[in-house]
């Protein structure tokens, strides 16, 4: 393959195709060796078995969900699913409207309820906090010394909320290990023992929180910005702003009035009284618990301290989300057993194989030896598609679904059509009386346009389907688009160069009757004209062709078929023997 002489124009391109294929294989091999990729394409749920739920997020009030809210919905569901202990769950969005949750196996009823529960945000005052780790059993407070309420709680920050049970629960709570999610939301009128999960910068903290004081629905909006210093100059610290509605403003004023007293009593900035903190709770989990540094009367608190741009944005997003609670409506909930999935894949592949075999038989029947070029081209297209799917499975987590397999099977026909268009054009050129080398070049020039134009329609369909459609349709559109691209690569980089090479072989160049390009069989014009000059294929001057082909082809191409035929016709009518001379070139 290393020879790239001038006489073999197709070879260079073929070498390049080999390089591309080898590179793709090397990428996949590298990924597999590194343990990240696998040789087998990733399979979607309908082939692998598992559960797929399609959820439509609904915003309270019935307004349409925007992209940001959808992303928040995904984040929330991801947290819930991860919390429920299901591994390898996949959560994705679909056409900007739905959330798709794919889980291996069959999830418990609890997990299902959890996934579709509506998100719930509220503000609770902190009564007590502590290190995230569980207190070891031996050092837990003995029953006798557990704090006991001495009176009915006066307000939400009252330590009288802490009963012995709650305190025991608090001590035993381990915030360093992942927390199980409960579908049942906590009672807003009762205290809550919960965690603030660890982040990259802060360790996990556990809390005893008082009853709910302000609801998330009281938030109008939230934003984040760089904090302004005392002189109004912008500092480097990020801050998150909240804006409450009238009800929220009044309630939050009451809360901060009480909490700020604890803050002042504890010695202001240096104080550490947890009761000066209020916790922002999402799905019963603390996402932030700032101290109340001032009484907020205008309903526009600002949270500061230790934010990066990213964390400030994250908190602000979560707060905005609290303002518009999203509930989920199940669109479809599908369980596929692994056996059924495997069966579907097996049958799909079998049907595809039978189809492919029929195509092979038909190609050989129609195009004889040229049929092998079709088969080889399909094999190369198949290899490209396979590599692309396997690599995309690794890098983009693309999963092949049954609809995707159907897309590939359908693509066999459309891919083969490119070759058929091309071969038919070559035959047309042969019928015009050209030699094979120039017929290949001219046929290609014409076929190229057709193939490009028609594949554009295919790609357009695949793109539109992919971006507009939902569910299965996407997987189908994806493979359809992928195979269209693979097809273009193969036609340009494999089929055409291969034919260029084959045109120079004796078998094809001299039009062996099994080559599928036999001029005699194709009724090349001279035989039909009965001009008497060319009777046998051997008479076709192979060598001369190469020299003049370029110029002659150029001159020919400047004429339309109609013009050319007109010219031929006129020559013929004139009864001149030049006709055969011309066709002899």
């Amino acid at each position: 393959m290393a020879r790239t002489g001038r006489k073999k124009p197709g070879l260079r391109v073929l070498v390049w195709l080999g390089v591309v294929l080898a590179a793709l294989t090397a990428v996949l091999a590298g990924g597999t060796i590194a343990g990240q990729a696998s040789w087998a394409p990733k399979l979607a749920l309908d082939l692998e078995g598992g559960t797929q739920m399609i959820l439509a997020p609904k915003v309270e009030g019935g307004s349409d969900i925007n992209e940001q809210q959808l992303n928040q919905a995904v984040a929330i569901i991801r947290q819930r699913v991860d919390g429920s202990g299901v591994s390898e769950a996949e959560i994705s969005t679909q056409s900007g409207r739905n959330v798709v949750v794919s889980l291996p196996g069959t999830p418990s009823a609890e997990t299902r309820n959890l996934i579709q529960a509506s998100a719930d945000m509220n503000f609770r005052p902190v009564i007590l906090n502590g290190d995230g780790a569980a207190v070891p059993p031996e050092s837990q407070t003995p029953d006798a010394q557990l704090p006991k309420p001495t009176a009915a709680p006066a307000n939400s920050s009252d330590t009288n909320w802490i009963t012995p049970e709650i305190y025991k629960q608090f001590e035993a709570l381990d915030c360093n290990s992942p927390q199980a999610e409960n579908a049942q939301r906590s009672d807003p009128t009762k205290p809550l023992v919960t965690c603030e999960p660890a982040t990259a910068k802060t360790p996990a903290i556990k809390y005893i929180l008082g009853p709910v004081e302000v609801k998330g629905t009281n938030i109008v909006t939230s934003s984040f910005q760089l904090q302004q210093g005392a002189q109004g100059a912008v500092t480097n610290d990020w801050a998150v702003n909240i804006q409450f509605d009238a009800e929220g403003t009044a309630k939050f004023k009451d809360v901060t009035e009480r909490l700020n007293q604890f803050y002042v009593a504890a010695g202001g900035e240096s104080g550490t009284d947890p009761k000066s903190q209020f916790a922002i709770v999402l799905d019963d989990r603390v996402i932030s618990a700032p101290r109340s540094l001032a009484v907020i009367t205008d309903g526009r608190p600002q949270i500061t301290g230790g934010f990066t741009e990213q964390t400030a944005k994250a908190l602000s997003d979560q707060l905005r989300f609290g303002a518009l609670p999203i509930s989920f409506e199940i669109q479809s909930d599908q369980q596929i057993s692994a056996t059924l999935g495997g069966e579907q894949l097996r049958m799909g592949l079998l049907a595809g194989l039978i189809g492919l075999l029929l195509v092979v038989v038909y190609s050989l029947f129609q195009y004889r030896a040229l049929g092998f070029v079709t088969i080889a081209s399909l094999v190369v297209a198949g290899a490209l598609t396979y590599l692309a799917i396997a690599i995309l499975g690794w890098t983009e987590n693309y999963r092949l679904s049954l609809a995707g397999v159907a897309g590939i099977i359908v693509a066999i026909g459309q891919t083969a059509d490119s070759f058929i268009v091309y071969f038919e054009r070559i035959r047309d050129e042969l019928r015009e009386g050209r030699g094979l080398v120039s017929a290949v070049e001219n046929g290609w020039k014409r076929a190229k346009r057709t193939v490009l134009a028609s594949k554009a329609v295919n790609l357009l369909a695949a793109l539109v389907l992919y971006f507009v459609a939902v569910g299965n349709v996407r997987g189908f559109a994806f493979t359809l688009g992928l195979t269209a691209i693979a097809d273009l690569i193969v036609v340009f980089m494999f089929t055409h160069p291969t034919l260029q090479l084959l045109a120079q072989t004796r078998f094809f160049g001299e039009g062996h009757k099994f080559s599928g390009l036999d001029p005699e069989r194709l009724g090349a014009v001279p035989l039909y004209r009965g001009a008497g000059r060319i009777r046998t294929p051997e008479d076709r001057p192979v060598a001369v062709r190469g020299k003049n082909a370029g110029a002659a082809a150029e001159a020919e191409r400047r004429m339309t078929i109609a013009e050319r035929r007109l010219a031929e016709k006129q020559e013929q009518l004139a009864g001149s023997s030049k006709t055969s001379a011309k066709e002899n070139k």
Binding site: A406, V410, D417, V468
Partner: protein, 338 residues
């Protein structure tokens, strides 16, 4: 093959020619009747056989069943939900499908257990699917949006590529005929309309236009120098182009339809109702009709749309004049023509 090859040769040279353009009235009439039937049949039958995705409800699939008696499945359902009317079908070798109305979660679990014991299978051989009634509508709505976007973009693409909106219009007309007839066949055959079938429809649209583009590209090539030529009229050039690409059309149709037919006829027996079968029927019919619509509807329509253009009318007159003249001169030269 020699028969087919010489068939191709004769089509190419024009020795053998099918009059697709000239007999357009017949083709248009047939197409119109077929489209009308495709509209009447679903109406007369009271609509399409909609899949569970459009009706909403729960579906159970039981694989490796010991018995394929549907009453077993019906009892398993009615034991839990009295008065419900489940649809039980044997969809493949040993697989039963039970469709019911929408069920509550605990009912689903109970029925699942009931089916497990009733059909004597293990737990993981029974699967359940719940589909909200809006899901299918959702898919369809998105598919329709996709359809409109695709048609507009494709029309624009073709108009730009071929430099004439008349080709776009003709191609879309061919596509519309394909669509209606494919839908009509669905209604007639009582196949379930599922989202997979919708995928099939969308693919058929793409295939139909794809096929038309290939043929139209040949028409474009043949008619590009028409003004300067007096050999054939515009309609004749179009007809020749269709004839010259006829072998391609047949070959492509065959190659495209073979895998689809394999899924439809072989796969369906093994797979039962499912994504692949639903998809393949739409494709099978669509590819057949799409190929035919290009030849019998799109191309003649294009010729008809353009034949009234003043330039082409003049050209047609020149062709006639030349023929009248050539006929006289050709008499002594006739042996050369044989």
């Amino acid at each position: 093959m020699s028969g087919f090859a010489s068939f191709g040769n004769e089509l190419y040279t024009g020795k053998r020619s099918y009059d697709f353009v000239g007999a357009k009235k017949i083709w248009f009439l047939i197409a119109a009747v077929a489209v009308a039937l495709s509209i009447i049949i679903p109406v007369a039958k009271g609509g399409f056989n909609l899949g569970i995705e459009f009706r909403g409800g729960s579906e159970f699939t039981v694989s490796n069943v010991k018995t394929t008696d549907p009453t077993v499945g019906e009892h398993a359902v009615t034991d839990v939900v009295a008065g419900s009317v489940p649809r039980v079908a044997n969809i493949a070798g040993n697989t039963m499908r039970i469709q019911t109305d929408k069920l509550a979660d605990d009912e689903t679990l109970k029925i699942k257990q009931g089916l497990t014991t009733a059909y004597g299978v293990t737990d993981n051989e029974v699967t359940s699917t719940f589909v909200g009634p809006t899901w299918g509508a959702d898919v369809t709505k998105q598919a329709l949006i996709g359809l409109v976007v695709f048609v507009l973009l494709a029309a624009l693409l073709m108009a730009l590529y071929f430099r004439t909106w008349k080709m776009s219009l003709s191609a879309l007309a061919g596509m519309a005929v394909t669509m209606f007839i494919t839908a009509g066949v669905y209604a007639l055959s009582d196949f379930e309309v599922t989202p997979s079938a919708i995928i099939g429809f969308l693919t058929v649209l793409s295939y139909s236009l794809y096929d038309t583009v290939v043929v139209f590209d040949k028409i474009r090539e043949n008619t590009s120098g028409i003004d300067a030529s007096t050999r054939r009229t515009f309609g004749e050039e179009v007809n020749l182009a269709v004839n010259q690409t006829l072998v391609r059309s047949i070959n492509t149709m065959m190659v495209a339809i073979l895998p689809v037919g394999a899924i439809l006829f072989i796969g369906a027996g093994l797979l039962g109702a499912g994504t692949l079968r639903d998809l393949s029927l739409a494709l099978f019919v669509g590819i057949l009709i799409g190929t035919a619509a290009t030849i019998f509807v799109a191309a003649p329509l294009y010729a008809w749309l353009r034949q009234g253009e003043p330039d082409l009318v003049k050209q047609a007159r020149r062709v006639e004049q030349r023929r009248a003249g050539a006929a006289e001169r050709a008499v002594p030269a006739s042996p050369a023509k044989a």
